[in-house]
């Protein structure tokens, strides 16, 4: 690994009470890399992303972002989070604010941008995702695909070093999935470092520089998408992919 590291995870353990969800995750993501996490529901993909963003306290292990250990005591979590964007499965837009305000809130309140500057930057982002005409609309007036693109714009408005995507198309109608995935493809092309939990195997094969198969709280196998999808070495990976193919998702 010669490229600088965006993210390094060592021996990450996470449990909800007695339920161990992550049992020793090791993962290194280089700058500009796109890592896709695949695996059955409950394998720990979402939990891993939430841990990286410090939304979940962890039991053991280290998370290092751009060289800074963010799991040390006394780390300012707000400082860390403003460098990491996350987009959720259920969008989680703020329903009482219009699209523009959803995007400008954090830059204004966290980064101290002026209203004019935040609005200007937000408009550029919304334009990029084809949402400029929706700037004054409230989230509940938008389709799921539009809402999710607003959520992506909202995360990008903070200019993050790392973007985490948590099954962002799982709550969408099939016809709306493409417009969101296209937005992510475009982001990948610009060199955004991303960790993506997804069930869209075709998309993962296209966009990922590396694919990690999570099974029972561990990364069981990782590799280039071509290798992972055509000749996985672990029987469990093969079994999972066979089931996905049988379900017509690939």
């Amino acid at each position: 690994m010669s490229a600088p590291e965006a993210l390094r995870i060592e021996g990450l353990h996470k449990a909800f009470g007695d339920l161990e969800v992550l049992r020793g995750i090791d993962l290194v993501v280089a700058d500009h890399e796109v890592v896709c996490l695949i695996g059955a529901s409950g394998s720990g993909k979402s939990t891993l992303l939430r841990c990286i963003n410090l939304l979940e306290p962890i039991q053991a292990g280290r998370i290092v972002i751009e060289g800074q250990d963010v799991t040390e005591r006394g780390v300012d979590v707000n400082q860390v989070r403003r460098r990491i964007g996350i987009v959720f499965q259920s969008f989680n837009l703020f329903p009482h604010m219009n699209v523009l305000r959803n995007v400008t809130l954090a830059p204004q309140q966290v980064l101290g941008r002026s209203r004019e500057q935040a609005t200007e930057e937000a408009r550029v982002l919304l334009e990029r995702f084809g949402l400029l005409d929706k700037a004054e609309e409230f989230p509940d007036r938008l389709s799921g695909g539009q809402q999710q693109r607003v959520a992506i714009a909202r995360a990008l408005a903070m200019n993050p070093d790392l973007l985490l995507l948590d099954e962002i198309t799982s709550a969408l109608d099939p016809v709306l999935v493409a417009e969101v995935l296209d937005a992510i493809r475009e982001l990948a092309a610009t060199g955004m470092t991303m960790v993506i939990a997804t069930h869209e195997m075709g998309f993962a094969r296209d966009v990922a520089s590396r694919v990690c198969f999570l099974d029972d709280g561990r990364i069981l196998e990782e590799g280039a998408p071509a290798q992972m999808f055509s000749e996985p070495t672990e029987p469990r990976t093969r079994e999972f992919l066979d089931r996905i193919i049988a379900a017509g998702r690939m």
């Binding site: 989070r81 989680n92 809130l105 954090a106 995360a155």
Partner: protein
């Protein structure tokens, strides 16, 4: 207020379904029936009441025209004091109850004493009769003659009402705060907003909007309870009606005061009903998205 349509009782389940499918609008015919039955019903009631043997006595005791005409202006003037009392108390309650609710919603073991304090507060003031708190503060505090504290019973009456109603409104706010889904807080925090910023920009605006109807309900209660201040001898609406009643040997001033109360409370209850209905429609529209 249920959604029951007058004049359409007892539809069998099959018919009900077809009503829903056709938009649930009552037809012109059922409106006619509803109007006719209402007119007939109230005419019959009015005739029965007016012709009952005791009506003349009741009319004279409660609805004496001259006494009503004389007492209304005086009562309205005195009622200005009630308006001042409940408006001031409402302003205090809005802020103080919100503060207590936020205190109670603070997470983490460090804030345990503050949470306990807020819980103790609501337990105490929800457990006491309002008139008792008004008497305690209104008679007690001025009698102490403490340095720097006002001795006006009027002042302490407002404080007492604010303290009691803040306990109720705190619970209302808290319900609103807890009704905001944790994923909203996660979204706010993930953008780098601090705990307080997430509360201020994301949680509270949504919470307050949702609890507007119960909040207004509590305010209507507070407006009515402003009459309790009369126990302290403050010459407000009720006290004035009392004086006028004794002067005229007639209860019509009480009726006049009752009318004044209804004039201000009924529009508000209608407004609350309208808010609740609008919320319900919004939620239903939202759930189909």
């Amino acid at each position: 207020m249920t959604g029951h349509v007058p004049g359409q009782p007892g539809l069998p389940p099959g018919d009900r379904r077809s009503k829903i499918l056709s938009g649930g609008e009552p037809g012109a015919r059922s409106v006619q029936i509803a109007v006719a039955s209402t007119v007939i019903f109230f005419t019959v009631v009015a005739v029965l009441v007016v012709n009952s043997p005791g009506w003349a006595a009741i009319k004279q005791a409660f609805f004496e025209r001259d006494v009503l005409r004389e007492s209304v202006p005086e009562i309205v003037r005195a009622f200005g004091k009630n308006v001042f009392i409940f408006m001031t108390a409402e302003a205090i309650v809005l802020v103080w109850a919100l503060f207590l609710a936020v205190l109670r919603s603070l997470p983490g073991p460090v804030f345990a004493p503050l949470r306990l304090l807020a819980i103790g507060y609501t337990d105490l003031f929800r457990g006491l009769p309002t008139i008792l708190v008004i008497s305690l503060l209104g008679f007690g505090m001025p009698a102490l003659q403490l340095q720097g504290l006002p001795t006006s019973e009027f002042f302490w009456a407002i404080i007492a009402l604010s303290l009691v109603y803040s306990a109720y409104v705190t619970e209302v706010y808290r319900a609103g705060i807890e009704s905001v889904h944790p994923s909203q807080i996660a979204a706010a925090r993930s953008l780098g907003l601090g705990r307080w910023q997430a509360m201020r920009f994301v949680v509270l605006p949504q919470a307050v909007r949702r609890v507007m109807p119960p909040l207004l309900n509590d305010f209507i209660g507070l407006q009515k309870d402003s009459a309790l201040v009369s126990v302290l001898g403050v010459v407000e609406g009720l006290q004035t009606a009392n004086i006028l009643t004794q002067r005229a040997f007639n209860f019509s001033p009480f009726v006049a005061l009752a009318l004044v109360y209804l004039v201000i409370t009924i529009p508000q209850t209608r407004f609350v009903d309208w808010l609740v209905e609008r919320d319900r429609r919004r939620r239903q529209a939202g759930s189909t998205v």
